[in-house]
């Protein structure tokens, strides 16, 4: 009776935690949910005559593995939430169908089988005198080879992790000298004109004026400008609108000259290039 109650409580807990693991947006929550599942399972192991495994489950899994997960989460960025928009067409539907179908089939299989009352492990552990000694006996006799191989695996994994996680600097760190040289060999040694240098307006989408009063092309954010023109958001200020239009026309002329690619792509490209330049 006690086992049944334990089971039903833990089953509900573990299944809901598993669902939480799958459906929570933040990875940290998922990790915590996994911890809950593991702990529940540890209890279920203990209930099922496997005290050693229950301990190992708590120590190794919940203690070590979960900590590792959390560390990595820290490294990757703990506060980022995943986008829940599915990009692969039909993936969710089919995943649900396949997963539930699979569960259904397994359940059907299990349900079809009729089990006698569990034999229990009392008899098996009797000879060695308890669960742990019995396991130890088996591990160091029948399964000794597998055990040794496992140990080799663990060592290898440890080494592998070190090798993989180690970051090697391939190129020397850029010195100030290098940066300066890169800047002066580039197309634009001086800073790009800031918006509004000689401006009457204090706005990012307002072109700067050069000392002679003409527009400084490079000071206009193309993305913003184009967006405004195409979206019909013409500035109320006629001077501003005229300036933006002038720049855009000049751009269009350049596009035609280079006649490569379609326009939207170039427009998108234009913005980062400008940023890099600055």
């Amino acid at each position: 009776m006690g086992e049944t109650i334990t089971f039903w409580i833990l089953a509900v807990v573990s299944v809901s935690a598993a669902l939480g693991l799958v459906f929570s947006r933040k990875a940290v929550y998922s990790a915590l949910m996994l911890g809950v599942v593991m702990l529940s399972l540890a209890v279920l192991y203990a209930v099922q005559d496997a005290p050693f495994l229950a301990a190992v489950q708590i120590i190794v899994y919940t203690g070590a593995v979960m900590m590792l997960f959390l560390f990595v989460l820290m490294l990757v960025g703990v506060d980022s939430a995943d986008s829940l928009v599915e990009t692969i067409k039909g993936q969710r539907v089919w995943a649900a169908i396949a997963g539930l179908g699979f569960a259904f089939l397994l359940a059907l299989g299990v349900g079809n089988a009729t089990f006698a009352a569990p034999t229990g492990l009392a008899k098996a552990t009797e000879a060695a005198g308890g669960n742990v000694p019995s396991l130890a006996h088996l591990i160091f006799t029948r399964y000794v080879f597998a055990f040794e191989v496992t140990s080799a695996l663990l060592i290898t994994a440890a080494l592998g992790a070190m090798v993989l996680a180690h970051r090697e600097r391939i190129r020397p760190k850029a010195t100030q000298r290098d940066l300066a040289r890169a800047r002066f060999t580039g197309p634009q040694p001086s800073p790009l004109p800031g918006p509004g240098t000689y401006a009457l307006h204090n706005a990012i989408d307002m072109p700067a004026l050069l000392p002679d009063g003409t527009v400084a092309d490079k000071s206009i954010n193309r993305v913003l400008a184009r967006h405004e023109m195409e979206g019909g958001f013409t500035p109320t200020d006629p001077v501003k609108a005229a300036l933006i239009k002038q720049v855009l026309e000049r751009d269009a002329a350049q596009d035609r000259d280079s006649d490569s690619g379609d326009e939207p792509v170039q427009a998108e490209d234009a913005a980062p290039r400008q940023e890099d330049g600055k």
Partner: protein, 639 residues
Amino acid sequence: MEPAEIIQHSGGVIGVSWLMVALPLLGAAILLLFGRRTDRWGHLLGVAMSLGAFAVAVAAFVQLLGLPEAQRRQGVRLYEFIPGLADMGLLIDPLSISFALLITGVGSLIHIYSIGYMSHDPGRRRFFAYLNLFVAAMLLLVLADNYVVLFVGWEGVGLASYLLIGFWQFKPTAAAAAKKAFIVNRVGDFGLLIAIFTIWTTFGSVAFNELTGGAVDGAISSGDASQGTITAVGLLLLLGACGKSAQLPLQSWLLDAMEGPTPVSALIHAATMVTAGVYLVVRSGAFFEAAPTAQLVVTIVGVATLLAGAIIGCAKDDIKKGLAGSTMSQIGYMMLGAGLGPVGYAFAIAHLIAHGFFKANMFLGAGSVMHAMNDEVDMRKYGGLFSVMKVTAATFMIGYLAIIGFPLLSGYFTKDGIIETAMEHNQILGWLAVVGAGITGFYMSRMVFMTFFGKRRWADDAHPHESPSVMTVPLILLSIGSVFLGAFLILDNRLMRFLAPAVGLPEHLPGFHPFSVPGLTTLALVAVGVVYAWFRYGAAEVPRLAPRGSFLTTFARRDLYGDALNEALFMRPGQWLARFAVFFDNRGIDGLVNGLAAGIGGTSGRLRRIQTGYVRSYALSILFGAAVVVGALLYVGNM
């Protein structure tokens, strides 16, 4: 009397009669293999080889005459050609030796003439090589003792003709004419080949001595061969003959063949090769005599061609083409004769030999004129040449008189014989042949009047002169033959009796009736033709540019629309078919294959898209797989 049996023999000159073929062949081989090194003396070698063959032919002829009639068919077996099918063997009998004499005799004269005619041509050595090759092939044709070897020679002369018509290959017209000649000839050869196949499958042999009249009759009477088979053989042989002899409907190549040098026209396209068809029909007499239908077709083809050739000859301003039309017409007479049985054979062969002389004579004369007139061939630019080249003109006139059948000259006897024999067989054919003779009188006179008489219509830079003696001597010799040969061969039925061992002898030997109705009518019609030609071309002014003429003139000028017909019926559809076949091959068959490949490629390309690179898609398919496995296990477990 039936033809005599062939005796295998190898004694005397007849035993080495293969030299007739071998000598010119050797000459050709030397001239071609050693190339420019033989340039200086190559023409002499060519002439020597031809004369050598002539000498062997004469010696063999003499030996043959010395034998009793029953032994006058001598076989010379050289070696096994195609085991089980045919031997390389020669047959020396009166028929073949007559041809051999004509070929080597006229051939040698034309060789000699060519020394002069081709003296300025850089390819003279090559020319003589081809001439020798021709003589060898032609001799193989007539000396062969079975159809397979005959076919070898048959195509050999075709090759020589191809090479010689296209001798000036840099002239596109010459190259095209050569090709045309070969291809049209091949159409005839197609018939000849199938005839040989049929003969082989019916009789199990292709050797002449097993294909006698008796064998053919025996096969028909025993039911081994149907009358239809024999008729088919006859018609197929006729198709072959038509190709080689430029008979309707395969006549179109001959006029174009005049692109070749004039000696070639004289030797191949007048005297010898084009008469091979007549030889074939006469040699295959056994089949034709057993197939009256085939014989009738032969005579119809002959008459049709003799009229067509004559009509074409009337409208040609090109002297060589005029002569070519005349050749067609004269071979039509021979074909007519060859379709009339043993009597006709003799007249046909006689006319053939006489024609060989007078037509070669006239062609060479025409060559001499052209030589003098800077290779001008348009008769409208001749006129009044008699006074400047007397020898050429005189010999040409003799040939002319011979061909129109001027009494007592060669043509008179031989053509008359054919006409009379035809008359006995079929009145319609006979009278048509008479009409043909009249037209002959007209067009030949037209040619003579336009060339040698009337006003001089020469080009400004023309300075005609008599040709050198190396050219005129052959002309004189040939004209002598043109005068006397007819009388010699026909009177006393000399040729008929000589040929008897080869082709058989008719029951009643025909007499010579100089004053029969057809004979007199022929003479009268010829006279009318000559007089009419005199009024049109002798007395009247000949315009330097051809007048447009009536519909009939155009009809004749365009070769009776033979070329147009060929073009419309064969060439255009053929080209269209070839284009379609290429299209079908590229788009149809290859398109199917490539389409299949493209289909598989496209399907793979689309299937490839399943590999999105997304691990999760792959995982999904793994899960599906696992579910299927579990399901299958359950299903199997529950079974």
